[in-house]
């Protein structure tokens, strides 16, 4: 029997008081696709970052091709034939594709010879693996799918035999994800070993040969994919039986609460980010906004939440709201009964260094209940926080603890408690379960459905199609700052939505990958930033 391509023995790693990896051992056979699945915070990325030399393990050994290998830094990992595509790409945005590829792997001190050599090699790799990119394109002007291919090419250019991909499909349309998986299949055929880190069960079932499950920093099982089921994997991940679908009754929509007409936003660079959005949300329904990250969903939330100016008309319960000027800010929105759970809770929804009690007042800190005269009524805020933490089962229930000391799920509960306990008419909620553990996901989904059943209007933005299909009653798909179509969630599926996400509206006809690519590239030409 040949030695495994990778073998890790007894890897442990702690960040301060947090034990991210505990005595982990794993073997990955050469020429296979090995999945690593686990909840957010299970320690998957840490483990792979150790293998790539990005972090140093506190204990444990690494064997590559049967030989014990020290990997103190990424240089050593590259030398050992390991390449990694991180979840957040490690590309220099204003460099060309070619410059990014040679960075750190240049030949000699002058750039010109390196660049022309790389150009040739790139052509070969392109042919060999069907990985099309434009070598002279600037990274920030190409789409995410292509950026990801640049990352893969970077690894191949360094002659990697082992390729690690960390949550590679998070930013892709379903069609692009399929394309990626075809590339991975091709690489496997060529004898490369691939490690795929994901939290999506479907991907594991579709493409991997073997799968390891991680929970709370430990490796709980390694099984052959063919011999397991999604239900079994989910149970291994969480440690108990999980409800994979959201339990909810059909919606009974009432009057229109939010009415958006011809909404447009132009960003600082003069690029039109929202190009005439028309949208309605009724009382007692959840409307989901699907789409690949960066197609205007964030801007839509920002406009409605009051931190970006826009043109068009937006009415709430029939009364117009200001889109520019003094009364278009977040505070005015709150006064009008719009609550907002932002997409990026760590940078927007919470101040991580502030205690939970200040975060509970944040945004509502000028409310009469929270002030007495000119001063804040801190005692009232603290009492209110303790009560909210109890009701939302925030753990640990300490109002004095800084927000950064709570887990992702508990942070989200703090934000959610603050926003929905206000009894808003409209709740804006972005990526409600990003970085949240499964236990908390169930709770958060239940809260959202309960709010709907009280007759509130809810606008949900999520890049997780599964979440939209499970939670929303109606879905609108955004592409390139426009809404491509609306569907009842009961009458559509991932495939149809996937085409809409790529900007293709005639979803009945068959479409080639090239068409989809062309569409996506066009959209990125329009709006290159962000993502």
């Amino acid at each position: 029997m040949t030695a495994p391509a990778i073998e890790l023995k007894g890897i442990s790693k702690a960040f301060g008081p947090v034990q991210a990896n505990k005595d982990i051992s794993i073997r990955v056979m050469s020429g296979t696709i090995h999945g690593i699945i686990g909840e957010n915070g299970a320690g998957k990325s840490t483990l792979m970052s150790i293998l790539y030399g990005f972090y140093k393990a506190d204990a444990g050994e690494i064997f590559i091709g049967g030989n014990k290998t020290e990997i103190p830094d990424s240089q050593a990992a590259i030398a050992a034939g390991i390449g990694m595509v991180f979840q957040h790409f490690k590309l220099v945005e204003n460099f060309t594709v070619l410059e990014n590829i040679i960075l750190g792997a240049e030949d000699g001190g002058l750039l010109k010879p390196s660049l022309s050599k790389a150009r040739k090699t790139l052509l070969d790799l392109e042919k060999e693996y069907d990985l099309k990119v434009d070598p002279d394109a600037i990274i920030e002007e190409i789409g995410v799918g292509m950026q990801q291919r640049v990352e893969i090419l970077k690894a191949l250019y360094r002659q990697a035999n082992i390729l690690i991909l960390d949550e590679p499909t998070g930013v892709l349309t379903p069609a692009e994800a399929d394309q990626l998986f075809r590339i991975l299949g091709r690489l496997k055929e060529e004898g490369k070993t691939i490690i795929l880190i994901t939290h999506k069960l479907r991907e594991i079932m579709d493409i991997t040969d073997t799968v390891s499950v991680m929970r709370r920093g430990e490796m709980t099982a390694t099984v052959k994919t063919a011999e397991t089921s999604p239900e079994e994997l989910a149970e291994l991940m969480v440690g108990r039986k999980v409800l994979l679908r959201v339990d909810k009754a059909p919606a009974t929509p009432g009057d229109v609460v939010l009415d958006v007409q011809n909404l447009k936003v132009v960003d600082e660079q003069g690029v039109e980010r929202l190009r005439g959005i028309d949208l309605q949300v009724r009382a007692g329904e959840i409307v989901g906004i699907a789409g690949v990250a960066g197609n205007g969903q964030s801007e839509l939330l920002e406009v409605l939440g009051g931190y970006e100016d826009a043109t068009g008309t937006v009415t709430l319960n029939g009364q117009p709201i200001d889109l520019t000027g003094k009364y278009s800010d977040g505070r005015s929105r709150r006064d009008r009964g719009i609550a907002h759970v932002p997409e990026d809770r760590q940078r927007e929804g919470l101040i991580m260094d502030f205690p939970a009690w200040e975060n509970t007042a944040f945004g509502y800190h000028r409310d009469a209940a929270y002030t007495s005269g000119l001063l804040s009524n801190n005692a009232a805020i603290k009492a209110d926080t303790a009560e909210k933490m109890e009701r939302f089962d925030v753990r640990p229930p300490h109002p004095h603890l800084a927000a950064k000391n709570f887990s992702g799920g508990n942070q989200q509960k703090i934000v959610l408690a603050r926003e929905i306990e206000r009894n808003p008419d409209l709740l804006l909620i972005g990526q409600p379960t990003r970085g949240v553990d499964i236990g908390a996901i169930e709770f958060i989904h239940q809260q959202i459905v309960a709010l709907r059943d009280q007759g509130k209007a809810i606008l949900l933005v999520s890049v997780e199609l599964e979440e939209i299909l499970g939670l929303a009653d109606r879905v609108a798909v955004m592409f390139d700052g426009q809404i491509m179509g609306e569907r009842q969630t009961t009458e559509t599926d991932e495939k149809e939505l996937g085409l809409l996400m790529a900007g293709i509206t005639d979803t009945d006809k068959p479409h080639t990958m090239a068409e989809i690519e062309a569409n996506l590239a066009h959209a990125h030409g329009n709006a290159s930033k962000e993502v």
Binding site: P17, E218, R347, E348
Partner: protein, 372 residues
């Protein structure tokens, strides 16, 4: 996750930084051929060995409380105001104009008016860089530094060309009226039987500075505006989300900051010199940076750090008097304090965190938390 207990964060870290700065300062004194132990002795005797020394120490401390608070308030909003020096110069101009051209009947009303004048002038001088930062994105650090140079020119023009009494060669205003003379500590403490030095310049402004400390504390930690200022300083995006305007907070924080720096003038111009001279500020605006860093931008910390720097300043003056060590030693100490408590904070913190972590792990190796 917080590794260190709060007391270590608030007391131990600044203390160790201070000790490091002190050791290096001692080495500097050694290197220029003086004896550090004697120097410390001289400083202690000169600064706190008599009510005269205390009077000077507290006088300087009053200046530094104002400028330290000024830098702190801006820090809380995430703004680095290096313009305290210029704002204090303009504050002096405000005090001089208020006191020269209006015949105040009594020092109490005069003090109120002078405080207002100082605050308004200081705030206005901070307002322009603040506006340029908020609206035009001009780097506030560079603009406030430029405004220090411009303030010096303005003051020079005002003193040489406008306010200088006819016939005088000295670029200074005439003396303020006797009625606006501020009671010094001698006059304030005599009624309760304490015999404080008559010659020392510490005066009733000290009380105003302490009140300012309390008010700033209330503002920052006990008002909605304070929460807004701190939120904006921590995360611009979160502030935007909450409807806290960037322009508004930048302007308010800098106006308060400039006003505090300007208010220093009631101490040095109205209380001590009793006229406006060219070099009235003597670097106090810059020392405010060290004081704010050392006091962790907390008014009580600023209060303590200001007294420490008052001691260093007065001690340094004594040194310059009795040894060949020039007064610039204080600038070096100030630099070292900024370096260690501000920029090299992690150098002190990281080993300390390790110690506390080891202690904690030893105490309890029970439940562990996973993370990615």
């Amino acid at each position: 996750m917080d590794v260190m207990p709060k007391w270590a964060e608030v007391i131990l870290v600044p203390l160790i930084s201070l000790i490091l700065a002190a050791i290096l300062s001692a080495l500097v004194i050694l290197a220029i051929g003086e004896n550090p132990v004697e120097a410390v002795n001289l400083m202690v005797t000169g600064a706190i060995g008599s009510t005269y020394g205390w009077g000077y120490t507290l006088y300087y401390a009053t200046n530094f409380m104002f400028t330290g608070l000024a830098v702190s308030v801006a820090f809380h909003a995430g703004l680095f105001n290096i313009g305290g020096e210029g704002q204090a110069m303009l504050g002096g101009l405000g005090v001089a104009l208020v006191l020269l051209f209006i015949p105040w009947p009594h020092w109490t009303i005069a003090l109120l008016a002078a405080t207002a004048g100082a605050a308004v002038f200081g705030a206005l001088w901070a307002a322009i860089p603040a506006y340029l930062q908020a609206k035009r994105g001009s780097h506030i650090v560079i603009t406030t530094i430029m405004f220090n140079f411009i303030a010096a020119a303005v003051l020079n023009y005002m003193l040489v060309n406008q306010l200088r009494p006819a016939g005088s060669m000295d670029p200074a205003t005439e003396r303020f009226r006797e009625a606006v003379h501020l009671p010094n500590l001698h006059e304030m403490l005599a009624p309760i039987g304490i015999n404080f030095s008559k010659a020392a310049p510490a005066n009733v402004s000290l009380v105003i500075a302490i009140i300012a400390c309390v008010l700033v504390w209330l503002l920052i930690w006990r008002t909605p505006l304070g929460l807004e200022i701190r939120s904006y300083g921590k995360s611009g995006r979160a502030a935007k989300y909450a409807g806290i305007g960037a322009v508004r907070i930048t302007m308010i924080a800098m106006l308060i900051s400039g006003a505090l720096a300007g208010m220093m003038a009631i101490n040095n111009v109205m209380g001590e010199a009793e006229r406006l001279v060219l070099n009235a500020v003597e670097g106090a605006g810059f020392i405010g940076i060290a004081v704010a860093l050392m006091g962790r931008s907390h008014p009580f910390g600023v209060f303590l750090a200001a007294i420490l720097f008052g001691f260093l300043y007065q001690g340094g003056a004594e040194l310059a008097l009795w040894t060949s060590i020039p007064r610039e030693l204080i600038v070096v100490i100030q630099a070292l304090v900024i370096l260690f408590t501000g920029a090299l904070d992690n150098m002190v913190r990281m080993p300390l965190e390790k110690v506390f972590l080891a202690a904690r792990n030893a105490r309890a190796s029970k439940s562990v938390e996973p993370a990615e």
